[in-house]
Amino acid sequence: MAGHSAQLDAKTLWGGKESPFQTSYGKLMMWFFLVSDALTFTGLLIAYGFTRHDAQDAWPIGEETFNSMPFLGHGYPLLYVALMTFILIVSSVTMVLAVEAGHRMDRKGVTKWMIATVIGGFFFLGSQAWEWSHFIHGSEFGKIELADGSVAIVKGHFGEINNFTILEAGRKHKVGAVIKDDLMHQFQHAAERGHLEAGKIHLADGSIAKINKMKDHDMKLIIKKSGKTYKLGGKEITGAKAKQLYYEALYAGEKSRVIYGANMKQNEYGPQQYAQFFFFITGFHGFHVFSGVVINILILLGVLSGTYHKRGHYEMVEKTGLYWHFVDLVWVFVFTFFYLL
């Protein structure tokens, strides 16, 4: 036996002292953790792909669902998520610059770039909070069930509601009173409950009011579920026809004809699973970002107190860097499969 091993030279034979990967234990284990975490996200995205492939045309398209910008309103498809992606890429860059500064034992540089990374992380979390809030509250039109039983999502500019004029008194409001507050909220609340009828709204106190609202523009109905007349995958309904069909359904006075926003049971964008996947995948990713920010702050404290400088290397920064880049990596895939495809 000894004769066989003697034929191998030391370079081929691993003697057990060195690591075959020429890397430290911590870094190697971080890589293994990231592989397992990558498999989790892969599983989630493939589950999403599975559900999407069996729902086909009923599935919403990213540019239909995500087309709003803060302060600017609607009509900016995918711009906001692109901004989020950019923020995360930039914070990934500042992280890699921190790692590079660490290799030069440049404590000031590491501190500077770590702070930038933490700020980038907070920016991303904030954007995601806005995105979630927008997703949950939904659009002004909502998703509507038309008279023939088909279900359509609605695009366009919703004419602003000016006020409600009370026609029949209730417990709180007198005839002729003009209500100017919280109009959209009351309107949508009444619509969901079927408390709208031919331009009139039944308010919570039992009064009936006339809805004074501006004209809608560029209305467009996209069928998401087939009915008797309108079929899934058919042409978009536009113009006066869209308006007539929408308000006929909205003012039908029936419960649950219209859905605004999203919750765990239903959503205005598409099949029920769509919102569930949105909440779970972006939520799970957001949780990773949050953990990453917390870990980055802890490492930043370590840098500030000089722990790593005394140790002679900044490998801790490198290891958290790996995790932070991984979070960015996952977002790249979420961005493609959830928003673009």
């Binding site: 002292k17 060195e18 690591s19 075959p20 990967f21 020429q22 890397t23 430290s24 190697l28 890589w31 592989v35 498999l39 892969t42 493939i46 589950a47 792909g49 599975f50 559900t51 999407r52 492939h53 069996d54 729902a55 086909q56 398209i61 990213g62 540019e63 498809p77 995918l78 711009l79 692109a82 950019f86 890429i89 930039v90 990934s92 860059v93 992280m95 890699v96 610059l97 790692v99 590079e100 500064a101 290799h103 030069r104 002679g312 290397h313 490998e315 490198e318 860097g321 790996l322 880049h325 991984f326 960015d328 990596l329 790249v332 895939f333 961005f335 493609t336 928003y339 673009l340 495809l341």
Partner: protein, 122 residues
């Protein structure tokens, strides 16, 4: 007790200012590239509709661009490109073998089940 059988690889990972300059240049180059890819993706995504005949091509382009982006993040930002071949392989090979299979089976089965549902409703 101090162990003498461990090698502190981290202590040998340092580099000087010149090397640092070179690395930073590469980092900025990759940053611009990643941003550019994202801009292209959003531009294509918002200008070509899903109902268009080009959509299948667009989908393939999206996936290729994503893989390119992921490749740059893993190889440059995560330094996997600078690690030893063995480390690179032990991370990438098992992952890809498993995931390619899972993608195939997931999407194939999803489509099949979708077809079953369609026929059930008709």
């Amino acid at each position: 007790m101090e162990r003498d059988d461990l090698i502190e690889y981290s202590l040998h990972a340092h580099h000087d200012e010149d090397k640092g300059k070179e690395i930073r240049k590469k980092i900025y180059k990759v940053t611009i590239l990643l941003t550019l890819i994202t801009v292209i993706e959003v531009f294509i995504g918002s200008s070509i509709k899903q109902s268009s005949d080009w959509w299948t091509t667009v989908k393939i382009i999206f996936i290729l661009l994503t893989l390119l982006k992921a490749g740059y993040i893993v190889m440059v930002f995560m330094h996997l490109g600078d690690e030893r071949k063995y480390l690179r392989n032990i991370i990438l090979v098992p992952y890809f073998i498993f995931v390619l299979y899972l993608i195939f089976i997931g999407l194939w089965e999803g489509t099949a089940i979708g077809k079953v549902w369609e026929t059930m409703w008709q």
